[in-house]
Amino acid sequence: MKDLSAMPWGLWARQVGSVARLEVKKSFLSKRALWIYLLALLPVILTAGHSIVESYRSRPGCSIPEDTMIFAGIFQFFYLRLGIYFGCVGIFTNLFRAEILERTMHYYFLAPLRREVLLVGKYVSGMIAAVVLFTISVAASYLTIAAHFGAEWRSFVLQGAGLNQFVWYLVVTVLACVGYGAVFLIAGLIFKNPMIPAALFMVWEGINGFLPAFLQKLSVTFYLKSLSPVQVPVEGPLALLVQNAEPTPAWLAIPGLLMVSVAILFLAARRVQRLEVSYTE
């Protein structure tokens, strides 16, 4: 049994920080990431547009509860299943794949750096990029969707049920990045074309509600659906897309998602340890 206290945790933390800094620059400043910015911006344009249009109407076309319901639909159908999903595909599959294609992976592999530490550093960088981008997007679109109600909306957000909803939407956004990030990080290590695992996993996530209870737990949206603060009023088979037949409490859903993500990252670390650099692909 190794003595954990004797391990160079300080050095590893510094190395994770350095890798993350280096990678964040690439994630944020790359032109290739432009479509991810647009993906994050789209719902903000939608909700802000809605609010502007509503503010010019003499009579409000909807109420605050209706607007929060609309946002719940945007969050479930756009953010979780498209925006954050494909944003994480773009960010996390490229953490290793892009370096292999650009033939620069060897610079990391030739540094005195454990490959597990490299993996963690890259994952952290992806998390920083995805979390910053999508929490800002979710926060902005939530805060603007009913901004035309003025003081009433501000009071709802600051003192009413809105604050709880707002915080939980941000928590679910972060957890979505954690889960999808882990899945697409390992996908980028295994598949040459990231769209193949993205499509396969999307199908898996889509049919997940119809699968046996055990298999449902091997999913990211299973945990996220249970944590969403506002349930979308959808009936029939489509309801399984946005809510679980047996909702999982938060105290179980959050550790459950984290455990699934850690297990995937563990497998990714094993994969990175065996990764060879020959650039023959």
Partner: protein
């Protein structure tokens, strides 16, 4: 320290790429100093370098670099620097950022990374270009910045895959001088190159590779003696080469004798150099031959390389 603590050891190492042979049954012990890997394209030079740095794993056999296994990068790259053939760089970086960033990744503090970055950039004379993007560098400058990066943590083992490619004559001379200085300090400098006369000049030992096999290894003269059937060429400068050629052909070990165009010299090939030298001594003393100079003409890597691998390999 283990017995192999100062050596790079390959123990019966093979590496296949699917059905394609990379290297086969390689057993080597590489001591400090400058070691050259010589062979034509596809001989296995880069495969050997990638194996000793863990970029690829052996199909069979064991490798140890100063007692450290290549699958332990955390310890290995504290003592090893590898300048690969890959001519790609992380996008958007200046020369300074390229070296500094990876020193930070190694765990150096900002101050120490900055100091080491400038030191290594100075060693390859790129200080003036340090603030420019690497993407705008010439081939030779890119080669030098890669070398600076491999040197930046003062490794005990420096592995260089075709390091002289793209360098102008001045930079080439400076780089060779740097290798020689490092070799003299006891650093393992392992170089692969097609530029044989340069490799020949700087090497303490050579490893000749062909089609994935080590065909000869050791000091240049030692490698030379391994090749028992290889006729030795000796250049003789004298006043009457025609008569000397006629006399030499009486000896059974003689293979060839060619008179120089200027009629003042003779190039001979023999299978027994010792007998040739004794005979020349006798001819000088007893038969009145007047020798201006007698010198081996082929105790260099190039001639052995040509002999072992053939003209096709030598031309590569």
């Amino acid at each position: 320290m283990t017995p192999s603590g100062d050596l790079i050891v390959f123990d019966n190492v093979s590496r296949f790429y699917g059905d394609v042979l990379g290297v086969n049954n390689v057993s080597l012990s590489i001591p400090p100093g400058i070691t050259s890997l010589v062979g034509p394209n596809g001989a296995g030079k880069t495969t050997l370098m990638n194996l000793m740095t863990g970029l690829i794993q052996p199909t069979q056999g064991k490798i140890s670099v100063l007692g450290i296994a290549p699958d332990d990068p955390e310890n290995l790259f504290r003592v090893v620097g590898y300048c690969t053939q890959f001519d790609n760089f992380p996008r958007g970086m200046t020369g300074y950022q390229f070296i500094y960033s990876f020193l930070r990744v190694q765990g150096y503090t900002e101050q120490e990374a900055d100091r080491r970055t400038w030191e290594s950039i100075g060693r390859v004379n790129l200080k003036e270009a340090a603030a420019r993007k690497v993407a705008g560098y010439s081939k030779g400058m890119r080669q030098r910045i890669k070398l600076a990066q491999a040197l930046s943590h003062n490794p005990r083992v420096l592995i260089l895959d075709e390091p002289l490619n793209g360098l102008d004559p001045m930079a080439r001379a400076e780089t060779i001088a740097l290798f020689e200085a490092l070799g003299a300090q006891g650093v393992h400098v392992i170089v692969s190159s097609h530029i044989l006369h340069e490799v020949d000049r700087i090497s303490d030992q050579v490893i000749l590779l062909s089609q994935g096999y080590v065909v000869a290894e050791g000091q240049i003269q030692g490698v030379r003696s391994e090749v028992q059937d290889h006729p030795i060429q000796v250049m003789i400068r004298c006043s009457n080469p025609g008569a000397l050629a006629a006399r030499l052909f009486e000896e059974p070990h003689m293979v060839e004798a060619r008179v120089h165009d200027d009629r003042h010299g003779l190039m001979v090939r023999t299978r027994d150099a010792d007998s040739l030298y004794l005979l020349l001594n006798r001819l000088a003393a007893d038969a009145g031959f007047d020798f201006e100079s007698i010198a081996p003409a082929d105790e260099d890597v190039h001639s052995i390389y040509q002999y072992l691998i053939g003209a096709e390999g030598a031309a590569a």
